[in-house]
């Protein structure tokens, strides 16, 4: 219990710390509102002649984008930057000297920032959705907690993915390229539009990769909610979270052995 409590404390302190960076999440908020506004207009033009594209209505596709952007913008790339910088400037020495798991520490440390951003972005996103397209078609308030679980687990998965990318700094002095690659792959994993609109073979590839469980799968589950789809999606998300956590630990263990603390 004491072992878990320390990560809870890290999370609480990181919330306090994030509240100091008000300008950071206010600019994030403006960016989020701007992107959603662009999507609302873009999709409105596309849907002028059709009511249904690849099984999605205009209402569903807008809410879809509100959810995918909510997940990715709220998560950001902080965990990648923190881990990479820790390794590059040798600050990791202080972390290795502490009785905690470095990966869990970084996830809890980032969660504070994520939760704050998620909270404010969600208010803006939901408000914009209601104003421009109305409530999600077929929305049932009973499923709201499950929808929240979709989002939280997607955020976890996203953090763990970027933490693994950050850990490559053990071997690569300049590892931002990996970050950009993963981020772009994430675009193809259904960030801007549902994978259902993609050619079948791309969709099939995307569906076996973890990236689509950060954006496509949870967003689709939310806009076309049914308990069966949710269970499957959640199961795959959890499996990917566990697999990537193990991968993180393995990379970390190997990386620590190869560590070359910069600055003597």
């Amino acid at each position: 219990m004491v072992k878990i409590k320390k990560y809870w404390t890290v999370f609480k302190i990181s919330i306090q710390n994030s509240l100091i960076y008000t300008s950071s999440f206010v600019t994030g908020l403006i960016f989020y509102a701007f992107i959603i506004f662009i999507f609302i207009n873009l999709w409105r033009v596309i849907y002028l002649k059709k009511e249904l594209i690849a099984g999605f209505t205009y209402n569903q596709v807008i809410w879809y984008c509100i959810v995918t952007e909510l997940i990715t913008i709220s998560t950001g790339g902080n965990i990648f930057r923190t881990i990479s910088n820790d390794i590059k400037n040798g600050a990791i020495g202080y972390n290795l000297n502490k009785p905690y798991n470095y990966i869990f520490y970084n996830i809890s440390n980032n969660m504070g920032n994520v939760v704050i951003r998620l909270f404010f972005n969600a208010i803006i996103g939901i408000a914009m959705g209601f104003i421009f397209v109305g409530r999600i078609q077929g929305f049932d308030v009973i499923y709201l907690p499950l929808m929240l679980i979709c989002i939280i687990s997607a955020i976890f998965l996203n953090l763990i993915l970027f933490s693994a990318v950050g850990l490559t700094a053990f071997w690569f002095e300049e590892n931002s390229a990996f970050f950009w690659i993963v981020q772009k792959v994430m675009f193809m994993g259904g960030l801007f539009f549902p994978l259902d609109m993609m050619p079948g073979w791309i969709r099939n590839i995307a569906l076996v990769l973890p990236f689509s469980y950060v954006t496509y799968a949870p967003a689709r589950t939310i806009v076309k909610f049914n308990p069966n789809d949710f269970s499957w999606m959640f199961l795959i998300q959890v499996t990917y979270i566990l697999v990537l956590l193990i991968l993180n630990m393995l990379i970390f263990r190997k990386g620590v052995k190869a560590i070359n603390v910069n600055g003597g």
């Binding site: 404390t9 306090q16 020495g93 070359n260 003597g264």
Partner: protein, 374 residues
């Protein structure tokens, strides 16, 4: 709790291991008042750090100048091995204040990082508090503390009080005990007024006091101080030194100190290990270093009249001479103080004369450069 805490140890001496089954740390012979001698085996007692044949080799990529060489280094990278630490061995006893010194790039930080489990040694053995830092890094971290003067473990935007609570939780300290500990350290380090100010608004001296206090929350047996007084002014430096001394006295914390400031070493430590190019060049008490390596005395002399100082004795060198005063260095291996003073007395009417040792700083710098032989 160690034996030295339970009994009043009046005399400790290491004896060489002769019997089979003795741990690498050897045997410590202890004389206890009114009881007599007894022996302790292993590392868990008086020797709390033991290092033997420790090596660390880094592999770094080399690239020669020019465009062609840049392309070549991508296609066929060349590596150079750097021996950061080369076959070193030493031991530290419980409650000791040890200075681990050397010029930049000598291997000090690399050694500290191996002792704390941050870096993996290439070969050799390390025993810290009966543990191997590589295998027991997490377990060991509960019993050691570290302060790196150039890096911070406190949260930059939050007051130290919050960081202390976080550290308390990380070190699994029960809430009531943590409160007690914080209030004790707050008083000791005189940081009561700083507890609610964000760390970014503290001065360097205030921050370092908070850093050290933070690293003591979990009552470590050993604390590694890596240049704790770097960038501080004289008054603050003195304050930090006094605190470290008090800490060592009151809590019996072993201090492992690296510093470029000879004042830190002179005032805090009884023993120094000097490392250069990854090798230990000296492991001796400060007193002995001064005794063995002190080759020069410095004489400051003031005359009542303007003098033109010219010396024809080879053991004497003029460091500074201006109008009424002069500073002379005397090489006591080739001449005597008596001879020097006698000579200076003859030059003019002396108002004041002061003879002092060569500063430790110079002695150490001579040892680094290999200019000193005992």
């Amino acid at each position: 709790m160690s034996v030295s805490n339970l009994l009043k140890v009046s005399d400790t001496r290491r004896v060489s291991p002769t019997r089979k089954g003795i741990t690498p740390c050897g045997v410590t012979k202890i004389k206890v008042a009114s009881v007599g001698f007894f022996y302790i085996q292993g590392s868990d007692y008086l020797n709390i750090i033991t290092v033997e044949h420790l090596n660390k080799i880094f592999k770094t990529k080399v690239k020669k100048e020019g465009f062609r060489q840049s392309v070549r280094s991508i296609l066929r990278p060349q590596y150079k091995t750097v021996k950061a630490v080369s076959d070193i061995g030493f031991s530290v006893q419980k409650g000791e204040m040890l200075a681990f010194i050397g010029p930049n790039g000598a291997g000090k930080s690399t050694t500290i990082k191996m002792l704390t489990g941050i870096l993996y040694p290439t070969s050799g053995t390390i025993d810290v508090l009966g543990m191997n830092p590589v295998n027991d890094r997490m377990k060991l971290s509960f019993r050691i503390g570290s302060v790196f003067g150039q890096k911070s473990q406190l949260w930059f935007h939050l007051p130290p009080g919050d960081s202390f609570k976080l550290l308390g939780s990380i070190f699994e300290i029960p809430a009531r005990e943590l409160r007690k500990r914080i209030s004790f350290l707050r008083e000791l380090f005189e940081i009561e007024d700083l507890m609610d100010i964000p760390v970014r608004k503290l001065s360097l001296g205030q921050r370092i006091r908070c850093e050290i206090a933070g690293s003591l929350l979990h009552r470590p047996d050993i604390i590694f101080l890596d240049e704790p007084t770097i960038g501080l002014d004289v008054v603050v430096k003195q304050k930090i030194r006094d605190l470290v001394k008090r800490l060592n006295r009151e809590e019996d914390v072993t201090i492992f100190l690296t510093s470029h400031d000879v004042g830190d070493i002179e005032q805090l430590c009884k023993r120094a290990i000097i490392i250069n190019n990854g090798e230990i060049v000296l492991d001796e008490s400060i007193k002995k270093i001064k005794y063995n390596y002190l080759k020069k005395k410095v004489i400051d002399v003031k005359y009542s009249e303007n003098i033109d100082l010219k010396l024809d004795i080879p053991s004497m060198t003029i460091v500074k001479a201006k109008d009424y005063s002069a500073k002379i260095e005397v090489d006591i291996s080739s001449g005597t103080i008596e001879e020097a003073v006698d000579k200076l007395m003859r030059v003019g009417s002396v108002m004041d004369i002061n003879i002092s040792d060569q500063p430790l700083e110079e002695i150490i710098s001579d040892i680094y450069q290999g200019l000193c032989n005992p």
